[in-house]
């Protein structure tokens, strides 16, 4: 079913709800010429490719020759654009010494129904946040109409797909414990 995710007609909302890992964390070690303007030149393609720079770490290492500079960059980028960025950097004459392990940034929203407030919504959130690998990024609680239970859209972020699965398992556990119902997106088969 993955192909539906790539369909032209799909809204960004679908991608958001499906929690497909569309952005990745990349850390790359670059070797650039140690002359004015070179760092900026190296960083320009990153913004052109929609990348979001999280950290730039300069390092002068003994083994690099005196006229080059080692720079470590951590960025977040749409994983489909990563290859394009790498090619663009090489065209700029930037030597990529190392491309760090990708960390998928998964987002997934689920709907929760039940007595959310009376079952301590703060604790529900905490239980996810305390895992260290996942966190509640957004919470939209609809206050109930008269006697209806309340309903919330809860968005979880996790570093990898399997961590997301673990976070969702945990949420299911908490929900079962508190008598809440979780309505998940129809997940696509992973193949």
């Amino acid at each position: 079913m993955r192909k539906w995710v790539n369909n032209e007609g799909l809204s960004s909302a679908w991608i958001k709800v499906m929690g497909e890992g569309i952005s990745v964390h990349v850390s790359m070690k670059l070797e650039i010429k140690d002359s004015p303007g070179q760092l900026v030149a190296a960083l320009t393609p990153i913004s052109e490719y929609g990348g979001n720079i999280i950290a730039v770490i300069h390092q002068r290492e003994p083994e690099t020759s005196s006229d080059t500079l080692g720079v470590q960059i951590v960025l977040e980028i749409d994983h489909e654009r990563l290859d394009g960025l790498v090619a663009a950097l090489r065209r700029q004459g930037v030597n990529i010494l190392r491309l760090g392990e990708e960390r998928l940034l998964f987002r997934q929203s689920v709907i929760m129904i039940g007595h959310l407030i009376h079952t301590d919504i703060g604790d529900t959130i905490d239980r996810i946040d305390r895992t260290g690998f996942a966190e509640v990024a957004e919470l939209n609680v609809q206050m109930p109409a008269i006697t209806e239970p309340s309903t919330a859209l809860i968005t979880i972020k996790a570093t990898t797909r399997s961590k997301m699965d673990r976070a969702l398992d945990l949420l299911r556990e908490v929900a079962a414990e508190k008598g809440l119902v979780i309505v998940e997106p129809l997940e696509e088969a992973d193949r």
Binding site: N7, I111, I113, E148
Partner: protein, 329 residues
């Protein structure tokens, strides 16, 4: 080909109407029974006359003549078993089906109970006896999903089955989504239109969909799953807000049955789907997506219930048996 029909409710009548309408199919009725009467005639019974009798007297034949008498007489090639579903024991249908198979007769049924409970046993029995057991009508009404799995997609391995298998729930969710009705309002409307039973528990709690999922899963993978293996959440917990939150994302909520041995998953639950998803269908329709290794995704959609629609599935099974086992003319 001679057929005996057990059960003369919506489905049984639908089958008899097709027999009356399409004599060219060569399906000859030689036995019929409801809960309190029956009729056996090896030379053939006029289906129109049976329908008239049932309509005027509420009995289709001779009082006291039973399904067991029809089975004892054995004057038929195929038993069409369309009595009410009993989801916990499968009876009395299970016994009728066993008896027919053991005595070397083919069986076609629309009854989920026996197939969900004893699929492997009945298939083995049919194989030993060299006869057919077909049950297309148990899942998805007119949709030929079991034909697709068993013949159209032969040679494929199924990765997953995903579907909307309960028309009542789909109707309720469609109305909650379109009109912002509460669950109770939409259920009341479904009842008024005859789409929901007086006691809708089996439908709205997801049990009916789960039974159908068990049947599809065992047809596909033969892993002997049972209703107890299915994790089930119904739709009766859904709030207006839940549908609105989904709508804000250009999505909606449907009751989805999903089985995938690869992911160790078999469950029925309301799920959030983008509106453009092929399983987002309207009203009482049903749909099934088969995810296959060769074919990719194949989605079938159609009417999931109804007298004529269910008869379509039964007649399809009957003719498939005729073509495979019985010399024509």
């Amino acid at each position: 080909m001679r057929i005996a029909v057990l059960g003369l409710g919506a489905v049984g009548k639908g089958v008899l109407r097709v027999l009356a309408e399409k004599p060219e199919l060569g399906l000859v009725l030689t036995g019929v029974a409801d809960s309190a009467s029956g009729w056996i005639d090896p030379d053939g019974i006029d289906p129109g006359e049976v329908l008239d009798r049932k309509c005027t007297t509420n009995r289709c034949g001779t009082a006291g003549l039973t399904a067991d008498d029809i089975l004892d007489a054995g004057e038929f090639d195929v038993l069409v078993e369309v009595t009410p579903t009993n989801a916990s024991t499968g009876e009395p249908a299970l016994t009728y089906i066993r008896r027919a198979l053991i005595s070397g007769h083919h069986v076609v049924t629309s009854n989920k109970g026996p197939i969900a409970i004893a699929h492997a046993e009945l298939e083995d029995l049919a194989r030993e006896q060299g006869v057919a057991l077909r049950y297309e009508a148990t899942v998805g009404g007119a949709i030929p999903v079991i034909h697709a799995i068993r013949s159209g997609l032969l040679g494929n391995r199924a990765h997953a089955i995903t579907g909307v298998l309960n028309g009542t729930c789909n109707y309720i969710l469609t109305r909650m989504d379109e009109e912002g009705l509460t669950y109770d309002q939409a259920l009341a409307e479904a009842r008024e239109l005859g789409y929901a039973e007086a006691d809708p528990t089996y439908d709205v709690r997801g049990i009916d969909a789960a039974i159908k999922l068990v049947i599809l899963a065992n047809t596909c993978w033969n892993l002997g799953v049972t209703l107890n293996d299915v994790s089930i959440t119904g739709i009766d917990c859904l709030t207006v807000d839940a549908l609105r939150l989904a709508a804000d994302q250009d999505c909606t909520i449907r009751l989805i049955a999903e089985a995938s041995p690869e992911r160790g998953q078999i469950r029925v639950a309301p799920r959030v789907l983008p509106r453009t998803h092929p399983l987002v269908i309207e009203g009482t329709l049903n749909a099934v997506t088969l995810s296959m290794d060769l074919a990719g995704e194949v989605t079938l959609m159609g009417r999931g219930a109804g007298s004529r629609e269910t008869a379509s599935a039964i007649v399809g099974d009957l003719l498939a048996i005729r073509d495979r086992f019985i010399e024509c003319g």
